[in-house]
Amino acid sequence: MDPGLKEFMRKPLVKAMALSAAFHLAILLAVEGQQLLKPPKEVILQVSLVPTPPPKLKKRTVKRKAKKRTSKKATAKKSRPRRKRVAVAKLRKKIREDPEQRRLRAIKEIEKRVKEREERVQKGVLDIYLAQLRERIRAFWAIPDVLLKEGVKAVIRVKIDGQGRLLLAKVEESSGDPNFDRSVLQALYKAEPFPPPPGGKPMEVGLVFRP
């Protein structure tokens, strides 16, 4: 090959390599530097903005650090382009996101948390309701000793309307003794009206009667 041509080829390659190195360094600095310089408060805020939960992210950073310490060339090469992409995306997002948008996001996040808490409260309310229901039915369930047998059990499915009225009582699993089943159904009819279900919504419950 012509040596002049070779030199010509070499020059832009060197240039490109140098540029690439500089670019990489800049991105690396941007990624790591951002993380190093950020105050902890901001980290939390940032974390809450992305869908991944905070403890996982912490783990990941720890992992990354550990990886770095014992880094081998193969893993470093593999993770670098992806990390780069993520970092670029983050940067772009940060540039695009103005404070107004950020506030909206925060509000959304708060709303989500409130909803979660409400769901938890609702579950608690349901548990309390079921306990009340059980107590009410138990208080009305009476059988003479003759009907008590070892291992006897009946399952009844009931529908209760918003006001606590009994809409339906269906024997899902009979005890095999019609008189035991009757005592159980009588308990339901006597216990009616039940406490109204939470939120005044009709509900369906399975009742397992085991003396």
Binding site: P144, R182, S183, P211
Partner: protein, 434 residues
């Protein structure tokens, strides 16, 4: 990879949603109150021209039987609605009955047509507001007690799945003048007393055959206590065993093939098995002490009996295959008259406790001993009702011996005889074929 995971997650979520849409929450309800059913039983009403005496007789007997059945708490009659009607399913105002707290309503009507009596009942589930059943009986007016008993048995079957015992009979020994003893029959509520064996001699230890058609007893007519059987359909008496010495305490095996009895052994008395159709008796025990009062387990494989081989009368259980015996009572110095329950779970007996005889229950393995009677007097000779829940016994609580009924929980007791003479050794019949 992450796509597959996402897809899997989606499927899982979908399944979960289907699950919650279909499945419902199940809760456990336990610990019911153990109590009697609340029954509304308004006065028996005439569906034709009323007849006060008949109405009062039926009403009184039904009320008593409902109490002895020990399944109901009768609600006060003054507070009942819809009084004075024989209520058909179309007429029942369930709301009104439910408001009284009644769980069940028993409406009974009668009609007299000459010498014929028609008795009918309807049973209602007040809580659920629906009829359970009803029946109509027709017979001679003089058989009104039997009709009431039929009604009771059917009613109890409707509510417990098991026929009641009111059509069964109780045999017992009645002490007559000059020390003579007779065997009589009586209804479980104390009605319809009829003499069965009255022969100017001493007749003791009545015992029913498993089909309820014959009765064993021991009679001293031939100057020796011999074993006889009487056929209840025709009153014919047959001698079964007449060895010198006692031929007593006969007990028919559940399959009807054998009679266990006490006879004289080499010294004292021993237990023997006598073929019911006649033949040579087999020896069951061979001890220098006395054995008596055999009672069969319902499966016919074991016999409980009394022996004084340790110096005091105690209850033993013998396995008939191995002929090996095991002592099951250890408390008290005098335990006698064992009676194995019809379902096999208990042995009732009379035991001396603080100077008086009480009715005890014990498991056939000797565990779970309990006393079910209390109060004044001695309580002796327990015998099981066919329902396995009631027990008849004799007691001198009111001076002379009378018969009383209690339950395994010690309910009552209800006194069913009240003569000046002694009534002892009751034997409750099995369910008699209708």
């Amino acid at each position: 990879m992450s796509f597959v995971r996402k897809a899997l997650l989606m499927v899982a979520l979908l399944l979960m949603e289907v699950g919650t849409a279909r499945g419902i929450v199940y809760i456990e309800v336990d610990s019911p109150q153990l109590r009697l059913y609340k029954l509304a039983f308004p006065r028996v009403v005439a569906t034709g021209p009323p007849e006060r005496e008949t109405a009062e007789g039926i009403d009184g007997l039904l009320s008593r039987d409902l109490e002895i059945a020990h399944l109901f708490e009768l609600l006060p009659r003054e507070e009942l609605p819809q009084r004075g009607f024989f209520l058909t399913p179309q007429q029942v105002d369930y709301g009104a009955w439910r408001d009284t707290g009644a769980e069940f309503l028993l409406s009974v009507g009668y009609e007299l047509r000459g010498s014929t009596l028609v008795l009918a009942f309807h049973l209602y589930d007040c809580a659920q507001g629906r009829p359970i059943g009803g029946r109509r009986y027709r017979s001679l007016r003089t058989a009104w007690q039997e009709m009431v008993h039929r009604l009771m048995d059917d009613l109890l079957e409707m509510l417990t799945g098991r026929q009641g015992f009111f059509t069964s009979r109780i045999a017992f020994v009645k002490t007559a003048s000059r020390g003579l003893k007779e065997i009589h029959l009586i209804d479980p509520d104390g009605g319809r007393r009829t003499p069965l064996i009255r022969n100017g001699s001493i007749n003791i230890s009545p015992a029913w055959s498993p089909d309820g058609r014959k009765l064993l007893f021991t009679c001293f007519r031939r100057r020796n206590p011999d074993l006889y059987a009487v056929d209840l359909s025709n009153g014919r008496v047959k001698i079964l065993s007449s060895r010198p010495g006692p031929n007593a305490a006969g007990a028919w095996s559940p399959d009807g093939r054998w009679i266990a009895l006490m006879m004289r052994g080499r010294s004292g008395t021993d237990l023997f098995l006598l073929p019911a159709r006649g033949g040579k008796p087999q020896r069951l025990t061979d001890t220098p002490e006395s054995e008596t009062s055999p009672t069969w387990s319902p499966d016919g494989r074991r016999i409980a009996y009394v022996s004084d081989r340790t110096g005091s009368p105690q209850i033993y259980v013998m396995d008939l295959r191995t002929r090996r015996s095991k002592r099951i009572t250890f408390i008290g110095g005098y335990n006698c008259s064992p009676a194995w329950s019809p379902r096999g779970e208990w042995i009732a007996f009379s035991g001396r406790w603080e100077g008086r005889f009480r009715i005890f229950l014990v498991r056939p393995d000797g565990s779970d001993l309990r006393v079910i009677t209390s109060g004044i007097g001695n309580h002796e000779s327990p015998s099981w009702a066919p329902d396995g829940r009631h027990i008849v016994f004799s007691s001198d609580a009111r001076g002379n011996y009378d018969l009383y009924i209690t339950t395994v929980e010690g309910a009552g007791p209800w006194r069913i005889t009240s003569t000046k003479q002694d009534e002892t050794e009751p034997a409750w019949s099995p369910l008699l074929s209708r």
